[in-house]
């Protein structure tokens, strides 16, 4: 009767293991010996508005803002675009923060399909006519993702390690900027940036999935900062308009909201008069 162990021993094929080891080495080498990789997606306000102009002329007319404003908000068309759904979500977040303000009548999310690369102000005027917006917030972005290997990537030689150990280090840097333009006068009214940095590790098998997640997280975080800065810039712009009315003219559309107000200064002057009266009476 043949011994079971001896039959197993006969099944051992060293050539198979050599081949397996070779494959592991090759795969591991593929996964681990690649240097840092870089992915970039970006769009530029300057390239969109002044595609063929090295020295664009500054606008000459004074912007006239008719309150309440009808505002458009759009992503500038870029080379490597993020998905339309993702853009829509981000724009809605920005728009939600500015809805309900008395000086804003409406906020239109302008789909990227309405904008063409290098369309410039001619394209914006088309959007203005189509959607009836006076002012547009152009959102540009620049996202760079780096992937490099760390010591754990040595485990990729075992194949299984490529699924288990986070031998890749991802670094996602995102910069977003909203530039608010008065379309008619072509004036940049104000701008606000937002930036973020997301760092994460991933196993080789999940690097692409992780990069997509990091990209979304990077845009989200940058949008949060963008909204905060946009609010600050908006307040600063309001102060600028009040203090230097020659820079921007404010008009009101027919059908404005009016309020009867006497105000603190008027009440204070009345108060001072009254104090003077009391003083005069006291002396008399």
């Amino acid at each position: 009767m043949p011994h079971v162990s001896s039959s197993r021993a006969r099944g051992f094929q060293p050539a198979f293991f050599v081949a397996l080891l070779g494959a592991a080495l090759l795969l591991g080498g593929c996964l681990s010996t690649r240097g840092p990789r870089k992915t970039e997606r970006s769009s530029s306000v300057v390239s969109y508005l002044y595609p063929d102009q090295a020295n664009p002329l500054p606008p000459t007319s004074i912007p006239v803002l008719r309150l309440p404003l009808r505002v458009g908000i759009a992503f500038v068309p870029g080379k490597s675009d993020i998905s339309e759904q993702q853009k829509s979500v981000l724009l809605e977040r920005v728009a939600a923060e500015f809805k309900g303000r008395d000086y804003i009548q409406s906020i239109e999310l302008v789909p990227t399909t309405y904008l063409r690369a290098g369309g410039g102000f001619a394209n914006l005027n088309q959007v203005r006519a189509l959607l009836g917006v006076d002012v547009i917030a152009l959102v540009a972005y620049d996202q760079v993702q780096f992937t490099s290997n760390n010591l754990l990537s040595l485990s990729y030689w075992t194949i299984v390690g490529a699924y288990i150990f986070s031998g890749n280090k991802n670094d996602t840097q995102t910069l977003m900027e909203a530039a608010v333009y008065d379309i008619a006068s072509r004036h940049l009214l104000f701008r606000a940036p937002g930036a973020s940095r997301v760092e994460a590790g991933a196993a080789a098998a999940y690097v692409q999935q992780r990069l997509r997640t990091d990209s979304t997280a990077g845009f989200d975080a940058a949008t949060t900062e963008l909204i905060t800065n946009l609010k600050l810039q908006l307040e600063s712009f309001r102060e600028r308009v009040k203090n230097a009315p020659s820079e921007v003219r404010i008009e009101h559309r027919p059908g404005y909201t009016g309020g009867g107000s006497l105000g603190a200064c008027f009440a204070s002057i009345l108060g001072l008069l009254f104090i003077a009266r009391v003083g005069v009476r006291h002396r008399a």
Binding site: G258, A264, V280, A284
Partner: protein, 223 residues
């Protein structure tokens, strides 16, 4: 010669109408859900919601807007009502409606309006007129126990200065097309000097034409 006897101190009436208006204004501020129903909305007025002509004055666009309007109104209205209760109460009823009606007729671009300043201006101007009239009617020397004693003739400059200040403010607001002494917390809301001007006119008409106004149910010493 008769020695003048000390006149009994005049009992001044409780300014219940002013207190009601103040309470109503504060009530509206405490219940913002009421504002859309009470604001001056031109389209709603055209639909027949005429109460808005009267109620819009009690709706405000912020706490600062409410505070300063109400501060001036409270002083002016209560003081007026204690001096001339009948006419003040009539003015309190008439001026909101007349100001609203004038805005509707003269300012078609005005879509929405709120704020007590028109009525407050009216009360302030009426108080000035009333005080000046009292001073004009007062004898040169007054007894401290007499009602006139509270407003010696030296006060004339004060009431004239207040009147001048109100008129200057309205004139400047018309000329500059922007509020002179105030800024609304929510941007995009314009001051409406026409409301203040109508307030002045209503107070002037009330003072000039209804000097002897005294409803029968009021005691003789009031108003």
């Amino acid at each position: 010669m008769k020695t003048p006897t000390a006149a009994p101190a005049l009992t001044q009436p409780f300014p219940w109408a002013s207190v009601c208006v103040i309470a109503f204004t504060l009530g509206v501020a405490a219940q913002p859900a009421l504002a859309p129903t009470l604001l001056y909305e031109r389209l709603a007025l055209l639909r027949g919601e005429y109460w808005r002509l009267w109620t819009s004055h009690f709706v405000h666009f912020g706490s600062s807007h409410l505070f300063w309007n109400l501060a001036i109104f409270t002083v002016a209205s209560i003081w007026s009502e204690r001096l001339a209760p009948a006419r003040t109460r009539l003015l309190l009823v008439a001026s909101p409606g007349l100001i609203g009606l004038a805005l509707f007729g003269l300012e078609p671009a005005l879509a929405t309006y709120g704020g007590l300043s028109g009525v407050a201006t009216s009360m302030l101007v009426f108080l000035c007129y009333t005080q000046l009239a009292r001073l004009a009617a007062a004898p040169a020397t007054t007894n401290k126990n007499e009602p006139m004693a509270s407003s010696p003739t030296s006060d004339r400059w004060f009431w004239r200065a207040v009147l001048a200040l109100v008129l200057l403010k309205i004139g400047a607001e018309f000329a500059l097309e922007q509020p002179l002494f105030t800024r609304f917390a929510p941007a995009g809301i314009r001051a409406v000097p026409l409301a203040h001007l109508i307030g002045v006119l209503v107070a002037t008409i009330m003072h000039r034409n209804l000097r002897g106004f005294r409803p029968r149910f009021l005691p003789r010493h009031t108003g």
